[in-house]
Amino acid sequence: MIPLTWYLVLSAVLFCIGLYGVLARRNAIAILMGAELMLNSANINLAAFERYVAAGSVAGQVFVIFNIAVAAAEAAVGLALILAIYRSRDTVSVEEVDLLKG
């Protein structure tokens, strides 16, 4: 059987890729995707722990389902916002969204 560590490493790698995406990309959609990737890496953790540490309780898996729903809602709102900004500004680069500062 694949040991728990592998899952944890996979999740950590995914988390870091997502983190990189958020920090390095200028495109708002890409940043959103990075954040979603980070959320999903946590989901892998939850599922893995459920299997290896807390066998018998369904909490981990149910939580994952919830998280997918939450992430979908977040993405929906985010895309709507990005679309609105694109319509008025013709760009999805967060670089150019800098009215508010100081």
């Binding site: 940043i31 670089e95 150019e96 500062k101």
Partner: protein
């Protein structure tokens, strides 16, 4: 009568509310009259309280009035409760008595100011705060009053806020007092942590048991409290706000910055004498700072040319005397000097105000002179106040100052006494200088001002006359006054007489006064010794004194500017994100390169994300490192 003592608070409070909301609708006369009557009623009620207190046997003259429970919780109980005892009644009468006179004077002085309602609202609010301060029965209420009078003080210093110097002076007073209040608040917190209560009675009863005499806690509490007093009562090193506070209207200078508020620190030390008795180090600090301030401010006053600034430095110096008194345990003497000082210093300020009023705003003594014959009432009353503050018997200042000097001498600390004596001489000198330059000699008044020269209206001269009488005769009640206060300070001090006999001490202090006056007479009246020559002989000393030892300048350079720069820097670098703050500053400087710099400069959202990651790294690192140590 005594259980209705709270009414003294209600009158001025009603004045505040009515004037705040309907002041301008009432009209100028009614508004001023209302404010004055409110304080006068408080004074009359205060006299009634005094009578009630005198009816009680001497040892029972301590009445705690619990009016209302403010904070009631399991571990903290603070009520709006008043303490009526000889000390608070004396303060009550000084505040309302002098306050009522100054309110009356303001009716004349502020006759032409369009903002009269605002002025009288603040002034009445000040009276409420001050009464709360002196009547408080616990530290929290004391603090409340303390903050309230501070607030009124800033508002009134900056009353003519259209003038930049006035607005700045208000700001300065606020900032400097924050420093002192911070110490004061910490002291109160420490009291609460130590005693679990903030009530005066409980704290003072438990203090001898809970606190170790001379211990660290007692010393810390008293020193922190004294920090508050240093700020409020303008002692070294926090005195710098008071000279600038003269930007406020003159009645305000008289009431708040001479007679009452600035003496709150002295009152507070006297009120907490039980704690100071347990901390000899703190008491010594109080006496030392007081003495030092007394002579220091007196030397500055020697060369000032603005009449109000002379009086301001004189106030600082006299407050130093009071701290000297309470520092050596002569609490009654300190409060007695506080009282007489309230009379003669209020009189001096009001007199100066009358002169300034008559001259159409002129404050420079070099452009006065020979006013005595033109301003009769002002002149005569000013002379009375001058002789009183100089310590000429049998005027009030003589008695109160002599008591302090004697107490200092008997405390065994001869240097303090000697400095006090020298300061007495300096005081007589600079006050005489002010009187000669203002009222006697040749007139140096500008032609235009001389044309308008007129004595002030009766609303202004009547308070002068009343205060002059008080300043003249108050000293005669010295023994009755001390006997009345005695029970409050029971066992506070018992300095045994010894060394020089009493008569010799009195003779010395009168001598100091006479020498000071004579010297000033020779220099400024007879012109036998030209003061300019002395100034020219030691130009650096004159400059040093004239610029008040350059302390303001030093504060500006050493404290204010670095702090300002730090705040600016922090604002700039943090505001734009810690990481790229510097990069972001560049485009502003090199505007031509901004476009290219933006090319590789990260966007704002990502910078925020980066600072968040930065936080995550810190928090997780701390967590993972700390967990190995616990």
């Amino acid at each position: 009568m005594l259980q209705y003592a709270w009414l003294v608070l209600v009158f001025p409070l009603a004045g505040v509310l009515i004037n705040a909301f309907f002041g301008y609708r009432l009209g100028r006369r009614a508004c001023g009259a209302l404010a004055t009557v409110a304080v006068a009623l408080s004074f009359l009620w205060g006299v009634g309280i005094l009578a009630g207190l005198l009816n009680l046997p001497a040892e029972a003259r301590e009445v705690h009035l619990a009016l209302w429970d403010w904070i009631v919780a399991a571990d903290l109980h603070v009520g709006l409760s008043l303490l009526v005892d000889p000390l608070s009644v004396v303060m009550l009468l000084v505040v309302t008595g002098v306050g009522a006179l100054i309110h009356l004077y303001s009716n004349g002085y502020m006759r032409e100011d369009p903002d009269y309602a605002r002025f009288f609202t603040y002034l009445n609010l000040f009276i409420v705060g001050m009464l709360l301060l002196v009547l408080a029965d616990n530290f929290l209420l004391l603090y409340l009053g303390w903050e309230a009078v501070g607030l009124c003080s800033y508002l009134l210093i900056g009353f003519w806020y259209q003038k930049k110097s006035a607005a700045d002076a208000g700001k300065k007073a606020f900032i400097v007092n924050r420093v002192g209040d911070f110490g004061f608040a910490l002291g109160i917190m420490l009291i609460f942590a130590t005693f679990g209560t903030l009530g005066f009675r409980e704290v003072f009863e438990r203090a001898p048991v809970t606190l170790q005499a001379g211990g660290a806690v007692a010393t810390a509490i008293t020193l922190l409290l004294f920090t508050g007093a240093i700020g409020k009562s303008a002692q070294i090193p926090l005195y710098v706000w008071l000279p600038d506070a003269m930007e406020g209207p003159t009645p305000v200078s008289a009431l708040i910055h001479a007679a009452t508020m600035v003496t709150a620190g002295v009152y507070m030390v006297a009120r907490t004498h039980v704690l100071f008795a347990l901390a000899p180090v703190s008491s010594a600090v109080v006496a030392a700072i007081g003495t030092l301030t007394a002579i220091y401010a007196a030397t500055i006053a020697l060369v000032q040319t603005d009449i109000k600034r002379v009086l301001a430095y004189s106030t600082i110096s006299q407050l130093g005397y009071m701290f000297l008194a309470v520092g050596v345990g002569a609490y009654a003497a300190g409060i007695f000097h506080l009282t007489t000082h309230a009379f003669f210093k209020a009189l001096l300020f009001l007199g100066a105000g009358s002169v300034i009023h008559a001259l159409g705003g002129e404050q420079d003594m070099r452009r006065m002179g020979g006013l005595f014959s033109k301003l009769r009432v002002t002149g005569i009353t000013f002379v009375v106040a001058w002789l009183a503050i100089s310590g000429i018997p049998p005027l009030s200042g003589f008695f109160s100052k002599d008591e302090i000097l004697a107490a200092a001498y008997h405390s065994g600390n001869v240097p303090l006494w000697l400095i006090g004596l020298i300061t007495a001489g300096l005081t007589a000198f600079y006050m005489s200088r002010a009187v000669f330059l203002t009222f006697f000699g040749d007139s140096r008044v500008s032609h235009e001002a001389a044309h308008h020269l007129h004595e002030s209206p009766p609303t202004m001269t009547v308070p002068l006359a009343v205060l002059a009488v008080l300043a003249a005769i108050a000293g005669l009640g010295a023994s009755a006054f001390n006997g009345f206060l005695e029970p409050v300070f029971e066992g506070a001090h018992a300095a045994e007489a010894g060394g020089l006999p009493e008569a010799a001490l009195i003779a010395l202090s009168v001598l100091a006064a006479v020498v000071g006056i004579a010297l000033a007479w020779l220099m400024y009246q007879r012109r036998a010794i030209a003061p300019e020559r002395i100034g020219a002989r030691v130009p650096s000393l004159h400059r040093l004194l004239y610029n008040a030892y350059y302390v303001d300048y030093g504060y500006q350079r050493l404290v204010v500017r670095p702090l300002h720069a730090l705040a600016q820097w922090l604002a700039r670098s943090f505001d734009l994100g810690v990481i790229d703050g510097i990069v972001n500053g560049v485009p502003a400087l090199v505007s031509g390169m901004s476009r290219r710099l933006r090319g590789w400069q990260s966007g704002y959202v990502r910078r925020y994300a980066l600072s968040l990651v930065f936080g995550v790294v810190i928090v997780t690192t701390v967590a993972l490192v700390m967990v190995r140590t616990i």
